[in-house]
């Protein structure tokens, strides 16, 4: 009885770290799947889910246990063994351990849990799965998001997510029986796959869609957390990993400043730089410094560009020369429509808007760009700058038409109406 009246215990409920349950889900599912094998994945997920429900029900009445992870762990293991016993007749359980060494579980060291999650990442990001499925599996199994939360973040229906996950898990199980780090000859390629997915994951979260802003930010931060798992592992701490992590930190430093209070998009030019997360920028710079010990990748270039923006006091005094050089480099090793267009912006800053327009004409052969709203948006800005406002408005209208993202569309419409 006393425990409930104990104020000290009361406060502790509020002190459970943010996202603890969600990340614990990822840690536990990874650990238990590592121990039992992927065949038991769904049972493991059920057991972990149930153990979190139990924590939610019981902890408010007494106190947060001294070691919350161990508590949930123990409950999950017991539930899992229970589920296995009940499923005794299926051949699924033939190879299941009868019990688990409880002590071994309790003493799971921090780095062991990280290794478990790393192995799970390799499984989720298996190349045989479509990239979108890899993202969803990562969000589900490593980040602990529900189908509904994933659906909201990716702007899909819940049933579509459920279907994709069911199919994805089935295929994953076919490819991966036991969680492991791929051996040397496969490691490089598999690591690249994870890096690619982590960056796609980050980008999904970074998009200012009218979806759930809070979940989106959490996704970005989780992508960074998972990136650290790579960075801290001797086999995975490659220059690319450092560069990718730096890039994510640079971009994440701007997370709070990309929309104003009314939800209107703020470009790099208009963001309040005093609210950029300086700690993130410092971390990014440190990571980037450690990244230049080998091959340069597209992540290195993007991170370096982001770095120049991060240290600039404002848009006008940004080191556009350096950025232009970096875009030239990027176009040489990893050209893309977005890179080409962003290069035009840098080009027009280094030279002038008229030159920028001229440079833009070189891109007009690329069909992909002719349907891309950003092309018209940039063209319209350059035209307006050179005084050709009428033509600029026409281009802006086209940009509005083609914009798919609601927030961006809104931004462009507002720009158009400001010009009227």
């Amino acid at each position: 009885m006393e425990s409930v009246a104990n104020n000290k215990a009361r406060l502790q409920t509020d002190e459970v770290i943010s996202h603890f349950f969600r990340q614990e889900y990822g840690r536990l599912v990874s650990r238990l799947t590592g121990k039992f094998g992927t065949a038991y994945l769904e049972l493991i997920e059920d057991a972990v889910q149930e153990s979190l429900v139990k924590a939610m029900q019981v902890w408010p009445f007494s106190e947060i246990p001294e070691n919350p992870s161990a508590w949930i762990y123990r409950v999950a293991v017991n539930k899992l063994l229970d589920l296995l016993r009940r499923n005794r007749n299926t051949n699924l359980t033939d190879s299941a351990p009868e019990h688990i060494d409880q002590q071994e579980m309790d003493l799971a060291l921090d780095h062991e849990l990280k290794d478990d999650q790393l192995r799970m990442m390799f499984a989720c990001c298996h190349p045989v799965l479509p990239p979108e499925t890899q993202i969803m599996l990562t969000l589900k199994l490593l980040c602990g998001f529900s189908n509904e939360e994933i659906a909201r973040a990716l702007l899909k229906s819940e049933s579509a997510v459920a279907k994709a996950l069911t199919r994805g898990k089935k295929r994953m199980k076919e490819q991966v029986e036991k969680l492991e780090v791929p051996d040397e000859k496969e490691l490089k390629e598999r690591l690249r796959m994870i890096q690619k997915i982590l960056y796609l994951l980050f980008t999904e979260g970074y998009k200012t869609s009218r979806g759930d802003q809070l979940i989106n930010k959490d996704i970005c931060l989780d992508a960074i957390r998972l990136g650290h798992l790579l960075q801290e592992n001797p086999l995975c701490q490659t220059p690319r990993t450092f560069a990718l992590l730096a890039l994510m930190y640079f971009q994440a430093s701007r997370l709070d400043t990309r929309v104003d209070e009314s939800g209107m998009l703020l470009t790099l030019e208009d963001q309040d730089r005093s609210r950029w997360n300086q700690a993130f920028i410092d971390t990014a710079n440190e990571l980037l410094n450690q990244a230049f010990s080998g091959d340069i990748s597209e992540y290195h270039i993007q991170a370096a560009i982001a770095g120049y923006h991060a240290v600039a006091a404002d848009f006008a005094t940004t080191n556009w020369d350096a950025i232009l050089n970096l875009y030239d480099l990027q176009m040489a090793i990893n050209p893309s429509p977005v890179a080409a267009l962003n290069r035009i912006v840098a080009y027009s800053k280094v030279h002038d808007a008229q030159s920028g327009l001229l440079e833009l004409t070189k891109l007009e052969q690329d069909e992909r760009l002719l349907n891309y709203h950003l092309f018209y948006a940039i063209k319209s800005e350059l035209l307006i700058e050179t005084g050709e406002v009428a033509f600029g408005k026409v281009m802006l209208k086209k940009a509005v038409e083609l914009a798919e993202n609601e927030v961006e569309k809104c931004f462009l419409e507002k720009r158009l109406s400001n010009l009227a």
């Binding site: 409930v4 969600r22 029900q57 009445f61």
Partner: protein
Amino acid sequence: MKEYLYLFRGGDARRAQQSPEEMQEHMQVWGKWMGDLSQQGRLVGGLPLGAEGKVVEKKGDVISDGPFAEGNEVVGGYLIVKANDLNEATNISKQCPIFEHDGTVEVREIQQMEM
């Protein structure tokens, strides 16, 4: 002041479907509600109850697993709080987070010995 018993029923189905993030939030709402009651000096005690149980009848001639009543009848936990009368106790219970999951609170006065 007198003492009142809150019997919490239901909400299991909704609780089980929550995402880990939602569960943590919900847990914190419970913690805050009970914490506030405690700080007001109203909280006497309370405990959560396990889902399984037995119902014993006829001195044990009839023992059933349960109570597997309808989901919304299973008591999941209880609290004992101090209040001046049934109305006050009932009003206090309105803030209970169980309503987020369509659960219910039964409010009963605990009979005192002193008259």
